[in-house]
Structures are given as structure tokens and as C-alpha cells.
Amino acid sequence: MTERAIVVGAGLAGLMGALALTEAGCRPLVLAKGLGITHWVGGTLDVLGTTGNQSLRVALDDLIANNPDHPYAKLGISEIEAGIARFRAVMQQAHYPYAGSLERNMILPTALGALRPTAYAPITMVAGDMRQGGELLIAGFHELRDFYPPLAAANLREQGVAVRNVYLELPPSAKRLDYSTRTFAFFFDDPDFRQAIGRQLREVRGKATRIGLPAVLGLRDPVEAVADLQRLTGAQIFEIPTLPPSIPGMRLMNIFRRTIEAAGGRVQIGSTVHRAGGNADRLTHLYSEAAAHDQEHRVAVALLATGGIAGGGIGTDYTGRVWDSALDLPLHAPAGREGWFASRFLHREGHPIFAAGVATDDQLRPLDSAGNLVYENVAVAGMALAGSDPVQERSVTGLTVTTGWHAGNLLARAMQAHLETSN
């Protein structure tokens, strides 16, 4: 059995890391317990939440200057840009381009009618940018229980947006016993369905120049679906992300998997890494379990991208113990359950436990509580990292993509160096 590059976790961090390793010729094996949080996020690339007219780049500079332990500070602006650029190139190649910039966040409406900042969004969403004017129409379907135009529109109106809302009729051919976001994505993959919806939208459009629909406009070719609907309605069409499972998230997952596997990487979902073995400062083995089968892997380098608490990579129990369930790395976490939470779910600063993660050096390698390197051939990325609460700072996708990319590249270099010395 030869030593391999192993990526633990198939969320955006793991996939970006795997992509970097693949492109460097390291043929990584991705082991993941289940799908990553791609299915839980709206699919925009959020680098950092900014308020008002604040420049995103300035906000990032400030963050980096003031928070040396923040993962972004370990990357630096140029590595952040490199990760974003690579992400966008992959999406572009897959005909699912992202638009935006690091200068100013776009402001996109949410399914609750909030105005949400994001740096880059798939072009199926960018027409929703609220920095431009014009009357809006928000349309949905009674059958889709995950999107409610009246609620979104009411809250937008309250914020001074000119907006109407409408429920559309499903064509008779689209009757099903049950409907989910996925059902609707399949509907929108069908040009005839788009015709039927486009015609209705044209009739109810009125003065609206932009029409928002739930982010379910197809899995196969959403860009084409949006173009179709624009032709049919004469209005700009944009998607609004809503409850999981997220269709834009699924698109990301599909594109990454295809890209990685086409370049020689392997993605194995349903394998839980539950144990690690190593010597003084190197991780040498990982043990995974899939369908009650134990597998041993020899490790050249490994990327821990298990998604923190959301991804199931961090385990917790009633005694207040907090642990890394894959590699058992030391964690940075509040001591004792009484320190885990703020009293309100929507507390402005979030909950201390959700910032739990692995502390790292500048090369994203794990450190223990005394600041000593644990393994030199392991890197950590995404929500498994300590030092930030990405949900609170609105950097979930940006942070996972950029740290994943950076960690993957560092590991690729480490692997090449290791193979040279051991040959």
C-alpha cells in the first residue's frame, strides 16, 4: 500500500483542497462521512459581510491586521484572491460562472426579504443585486413549501423596495404527490416547463424589470434556464436561495466532483474516518469505516476539512467534552457547557462553541494548546479551523474555499518534498 494524499471531508474546503492536490498531480482520495454543507448554503461566495458602503477589500485588510489568529490572516490577501480566482475558473469552465468583485459586496435579497451582502454570486443570481433600482416581482409556487413570495416581498417593501409578489400555477403535467426544491429543479431542467412558466410570468410582470424566483431553476443548465426565462418575459431573472437542500449547493458539489474525478482524484462519500495513527510529528495512517468495513490508509499528507460542528467533524457530549472525531487533534474550545452559548439564538456575536476548531500555524498545520506542531504533514481548512465563526462574519463559503485551496497547495508541496526525500 502506497502513501497517499487524503482529504477528510467533501465540503467546499475539502473539495477545493482536493482540487489543488489533483492539479499538482497528487491524486488525492477524498473520504467523507456524508455530503458537506454545500447542501445547506445558498451557493454564493461570501468573503466577508460588510455594512453600508464599506469596501470589502478594506474590511478584509482590517480583519487581517487586527486578528492575527483569523484564518484569513494566515492566508493574506493574495492567497485569498488566488483561491477565489481558481474557484471562479472552475465554475466558468463548467458554464456556471460567478460574477462580483472584492471591491464591494453585492446586496442580494434573501427568501426572507433581508438584504444580504456577498462578494460573488452565480450569474443566475446577480440580477437580484439591490444596488440597482427598478420594480421587482417575486414569484413562487404554492406547491413549493420552501419559498413564500408574500413574506419576502413584505419585508423588502418595508425596506423601501418597490416589489410585488405572485404565486404561479403549475402546468398540469407537473403534478406530483410531493414537491421539494429538487422536484422543482427537475421541472426547470425541462424547456417545456420553462415555456409554461415564462408565459405566465410575462402576463403578471407588469412594470417589473426584474423577477426573483426561488433558487431551483434547474440542475443541468441553470444558466440556460435563466436565459430562456429572460427571453420569454423580457425581464431580468434572478434566483433567491432558500431552505435546504440547496440546489445551487448541489450544482457546486456536482461540478467539483466531476472536475476532481476527471483529473484523477477520487471522492468516496460514506466513509467515516474515525482514527489516526502517527509518530512523533507525522501522521502515518488513517482508518475509515464504510458500510461496516474498516479500511486502513497510509498517509503522505492529509487535509482535515470536516466542517467543524456543522459538518459533524467536531463531536461534543453532555459532559462538555469537545473532540475532533476524525484525527483527534487538539481543539480550541470553551471549557465547560456553561460557556458554550449566548442567551439568544440570534446573539450578535454568535455562540462561543461555534468558534471551536483546530488552531494552526501559518501553514494551516495543527498546533496543540502549548503552540507546538502536532503533525507536519497535516493541514486544516474550512469550518474545522479555530479563530473565527464564519456564519457570524458571513464568510462561510469564502473562508472554506480559500483555506481549502491554500491548504491543498501547501500539502501538495509538502507531499512532493516528502516523496523526494523518501525516494
Binding site: 420552501d146 465547560g336 442567551s343 439564538f345
Partner: protein, 560 residues
């Protein structure tokens, strides 16, 4: 009193919409007495909605509190007859574990006989055959007629029946003052928390069945009733690991009962003295303690998923200045006739007791009032069955599934965890729910493993469509339940419900629950951006503000 706009006249005003008040108002109405009940929250807002779910056999009290034991045993038999639709005949075991005094068994058995609590010793093998997950190291097992009971559903059943007999039941009506004229209490001033309107309710008798709040009510009449709120915490585990109520066979202590209810098992309780029945929290070490006690009865207990935790306050009555601890105060109830006790007529309190004895307490207080009003119709509540309850409200998951299948309404599920349909939610909203928490109580919306992650947004949005102009009972606005997000109740509802769930869950949030909370944060903060809504939609909420909105119905679990 400021702008008292409306006057209501009745014979008897009952304060408190818990089991005792509801039982009382029904009993009154059945005897043909004009009566009104006011409750500051929704029905079962108080201890009745936060209890352990046990229909006591009396076994728990046989040694320490024999009178209570006998009352329970008798009422147990009656309630099984008059409200079987709300009771599950689980039976109960008292087990002696390696941590318990083996000699207590004989004392227990004898005391059961003395107090007329039906009991039978069964073999350990037999017990383990019936409950295989029970600790095999138990040494003796006694079987008693414990049951589990649904206090939400039965409260609505009792209320419905009372209304049919002519009673009037007003929820979200908060008693702010009692009017005393000389030696008589003649009226109550009540605020309708939904509109802010004040009403004066005049009654020949006012009955204080406000449970742990009875002391606060008495105070409004300048009377002293010493109710010690004793807080107890319970945890529901996501598995019906036993089908029989399991009690530790020892003197009553903390964490010694496990009750199977519907699809879960509930371990409880603790008992901690609190100063105010509206201000208490669930402490991490209480939870740890309960989990570890659970392990003693059911090895492996801590590996099950804790679904939710809640706490209620015991209305324990103590005569002035006795120095016993809360656990040692009698669980028997106490009727306080203020005419005899304090020389004040028109006002009677009844405090203490248990859910299991609510009917008896009602009978006793109504007997006195009826006599004073010259009504000789006897009490019939021990015979007359409470109608209804079978049709919609049984919330065993299998039932919901059957409904969903029969109606072909998969596509209409708003809450996939508990199989709650759009129709049920709309019905609950139209039926007068004040917020999503009320909808939850009616339908079990958001009670499943996803913690309301999906259904909260759906139900709130639906609310806005069903009642576009309704104002949710959420924000505090000069003491009124008012204009928060008028025109878009959805947002306020989401925030309120998420906070209520959070409050109920943080104390047991670890493992899968913690992960789920994080995923819910991804939905509501990351994807929906609820925190980004401007402040006039999303009122600022400083940390020290009461979370449920109106201070009168807020229970502040002070976590920080």
C-alpha cells in the same frame, strides 16, 4: 386603574388556566354556575404545561406523604374512567437498584398497603422480560398502576367541555389587580395582552388557582399565601426506551423517574428552590446529573439523544416559617378559605397538589363556593366522562402518518419530523394561536430532531398569508403585545419561535442537537439573513430584556 374600558359580570372568576383552574371552571359550569376563567398565557402556560407527564399511582408518596399517596391512588382510578383518551396505561415499576437501600422495599410494600396504593411485587426476570433495557442489576421490582398523561391535550378537552357547559375561558388575560371593598374581594382588573385593553371582571367569588403564582395573586389582595416555587427540570430522550414508568424505589429524590410518553421517554426531575416562578433557568449540572441518574436505571442512557429539556415550578405551599426543605413539603394540596383565615370574603385559594389530583382539588373548592352561592347541585366530575379528544389531537407520530396517508398530503407537510400538514397549521392559526409556540403546542410543529429548522420559516410565512394583518404576540412595546413588524408578522414570529426553541434546547445541546443548531444557524443567519433585517422590522433586543415579549408571560431562563 387606567382606562378600564369594559366591565364583565359573573358569579365566579377563576384565575389560572392550568389543570386546577380548568377543572374548577368545568365543575362550576356543570353545576350551572356562571363562570369565567382568565389565564395570562395560553392554556397550560404554567406548570401544567411543563410537568413530568406521570399519572401518579401514589407509590412515590407512600412512605413520606401518605395522605398524598391515597389521594393519588383514588384520583388515578377516577381519571382513568373519565378521561381515558388522554391517559396511557403504561403501568409502573418501582425498582431497587444497586444505589438504593435494599431495606426500603419492605417499608415501601407495607406503606402501599396502608395507603391503599395497589401494588404487586414481580420477579426481576419478569421485569427484564417486559423492559429489556432496564439495569439487570436491580434486586426487587414492585408494580403499581402508574400511567402517563397528556396535560396539553387534556387541558383543551376539559376547556372545551367547560365551554359547552357555558363557561367562558379567556386566555392571554392577565390579572393585574384585585379590587377589595372592605372585607370583600369584589372584582379583578384584567389586561387583555393581545390588545392592551383593561377589563373589570366583577364576581361574587374569585378563585385563586394560579399554582406557583398563587402567592403573587393573593398579594394583589394584600393577603399572604406562602407558595415556594420549587423548580424541577426534565429531559425528553428521543426514544421510547421503556414502555413502563420506571421509579427508583427509595425516598423521593432527584432524577428518579423515567416516564414514557408518546415516542419519547422523560427523565426527571430536579428540585431547586427559586425566588420567582417567572425567573429560572436550567443549569448544565442539573442536566448532567439527570443524565447520570438515567444511566443507573437504563445502562447506555446517555448515548440516546436528548431531544429537549424544560423546567416547571412546583406550587408548594408552606405554612409560615416552617423550616423543611422543598422535597419535604407535603405534596398534598391545601385549600385556603380567606374568610376563615384572614377575614376576607369573596376569595378562596387552593395551592399545592399535583396534576393527578386536579379534579379532586376542583371538587373541593367548588363545593365550598357552591354552598356559599346556595347551589346544591352535586359534583359530577368523578362520573361524567370528558368528551372528545380522540379526533385530532393525539399526537403519536403513527397517527399523524395515518392522516397524511389517508389525505394524500405528503406534499403539504410543513414539518417533516412530526408530520404536521399545512392544513393543521392553518387550523391552529385560525383557531386563535398567538404565536408559533402556540401552534407548536397544538400540532407539535418544530418538536422533532430538526428543531424547527425547516418548519419555522414555512409556518411563519403561512401565518402571514392566513392572517396578513394579525399582530403577533412578540415584541415588548410599552408593555403591550404590539406592533412589532405589523404587516409582516412572519419575521417577528420566526424570531420568537427560534428563540423559544433555543431557550428550550441550549441546556441539552451537545452532539447531534448542537450540530442541528448550527445547521439552523446556517439557514436563518447565513441563507435567510434574519439578523440583517432593519431594526424597525427586527426590534433591537438588549440582552437583559425578557425574551418572550410581554413581561407578564415571559419566563426568563437566565443562562448567562
Amino acid at each position: 386603574m387606567q382606562n378600564t374600558t369594559r366591565q364583565i359580570q359573573t358569579d365566579v372568576l377563576v384565575i389560572g388556566g392550568g389543570a386546577t383552574g380548568l377543572g374548577t371552571v368545568r365543575d362550576l359550569a356543570m353545576r350551572g354556575i356562571r363562570t369565567v376563567l382568565v389565564e395570562k398565557g395560553d392554556l397550560t402556560h404554567g406548570t401544567t404545561g411543563r410537568y413530568h407527564g406521570l399519572l401518579h399511582s401514589g407509590g412515590r408518596y407512600v412512605v413520606k406523604d401518605p395522605q398524598s399517596a391515597t389521594e393519588c391512588a383514588e384520583e388515578n382510578a377516577i381519571l382513568r374512567r373519565i378521561m381515558p383518551q388522554y391517559i396511557e396505561d403504561t403501568s409502573g415499576f418501582f425498582v431497587i437498584t444497586p444505589w438504593d437501600d435494599p431495606d426500603y422495599g419492605d417499608r415501601f410494600l407495607k406503606a402501599c398497603h396502608d395507603t391503599r396504593v395497589p401494588v404487586q411485587e414481580i420477579s426481576v426476570e419478569e421485569a427484564l422480560r417486559r423492559e429489556p433495557v432496564l439495569n439487570p442489576k436491580i434486586s426487587r421490582v414492585f408494580e403499581v398502576p402508574d400511567g402517563s398523561a397528556d396535560s396539553f391535550m387534556s387541558a383543551y378537552g376539559i376547556a372545551r367541555s367547560a365551554t359547552q357547559y357555558g363557561a367562558s375561558i379567556l386566555n392571554y388575560h392577565f390579572v393585574t389587580d384585585l379590587v377589595r371593598e372592605g372585607d370583600r374581594i369584589v372584582a379583578a382588573i384584567v389586561e387583555d395582552l393581545r390588545t392592551g385593553e383593561h377589563k373589570r371582571i366583577e364576581a361574587t367569588y374569585i378563585l385563586n388557582t394560579a399554582g406557583a403564582w398563587a402567592g403573587k395573586i393573593a398579594q394583589l389582595a394584600d393577603l399572604r399565601v406562602n407558595v415556594m416555587p420549587g423548580k424541577g427540570t426534565m429531559i425528553a430522550m428521543n426514544h421510547r426506551m421503556v414502555n413502563t414508568v420506571i421509579n427508583r424505589c427509595k425516598l423521593p429524590a432527584d432524577g428518579d423517574i423515567l416516564v414514557p410518553i408518546h415516542t419519547v421517554s422523560v427523565i426527571g426531575t430536579t428540585d431547586i428552590h427559586v425566588l420567582d416562578p417567572d425567573v429560572y433557568g436550567i443549569e448544565p449540572d442539573e442536566v448532567t446529573f439527570l443524565m447520570e441518574e438515567g444511566e443507573k436505571m437504563i445502562p447506555g442512557f446517555t448515548r440516546y439523544r436528548a431531544l429537549r429539556a424544560w423546567a416547571g415550578v412546583r406550587p408548594l405551599y408552606r405554612e409560615e416559617s416552617s423550616a423543611v426543605s422543598d422535597r419535604d413539603v407535603s405534596r398534598a394540596y391545601k385549600l385556603l378559605d380567606h374568610r376563615k383565615r384572614d377575614g376576607v370574603d369573596g376569595f378562596i385559594s387552593i395551592v399545592g397538589g399535583k396534576w393527578t389530583t386536579y379534579r379532586l382539588m376542583a371538587e373541593e373548592i367548588v363545593d365550598i363556593v357552591a354552598a356559599r352561592l346556595g347551589v346544591s347541585t352535586p359534583c359530577r366530575t368523578a362520573q361524567e366522562v370528558i368528551p372528545g379528544g380522540e379526533e385530532s389531537k393525539l399526537y403519536w407520530l403513527g397517527h399523524n402518518l395515518a392522516h397524511v396517508e389517508a389525505d394524500d398530503s405528503y406534499g403539504d407537510l410543513l414539518c417533516e419530523c412530526e408530520l404536521v400538514t399545512r392544513k393543521q397549521v392553518v387550523q391552529a392559526i385560525r383557531g386563535g394561536a398567538a404565536n408559533l409556540d402556540d401552534v407548536r403546542r397544538e400540532t407539535r410543529l418544530g418538536m422533532g430532531p430538526c428543531q424547527g429548522g425547516f418548519c419555522t420559516y414555512r409556518a411563519a410565512a403561512l401565518w402571514g398569508e392566513v392572517k396578513p394583518d394579525a399582530v403577533p404576540t412578540n415584541a415588548k412595546n410599552n408593555g403591550k403585545l404590539a406592533q412589532d413588524g405589523a404587516g409582516m408578522p412572519g419575521t417577528a414570529l420566526v424570531r420568537h419561535f427560534l428563540q423559544e426553541r433555543w431557550k428550550g434546547l441550549t441546556s441539552i445541546m451537545w452532539g447531534d442537537q448542537l450540530r442541528q443548531a448550527r445547521l439552523d444557524q446556517l439557514i436563518y443567519v447565513d441563507t435567510l439573513g434574519i439578523d440583517l433585517l432593519p431594526e424597525h422590522i427586527r426590534p433591537p433586543q438588549p440582552e437583559n430584556e425578557l425574551v418572550t415579549g410581554h413581561p407578564a408571560i415571559a419566563t426568563e431562563y437566565h443562562h448567562d
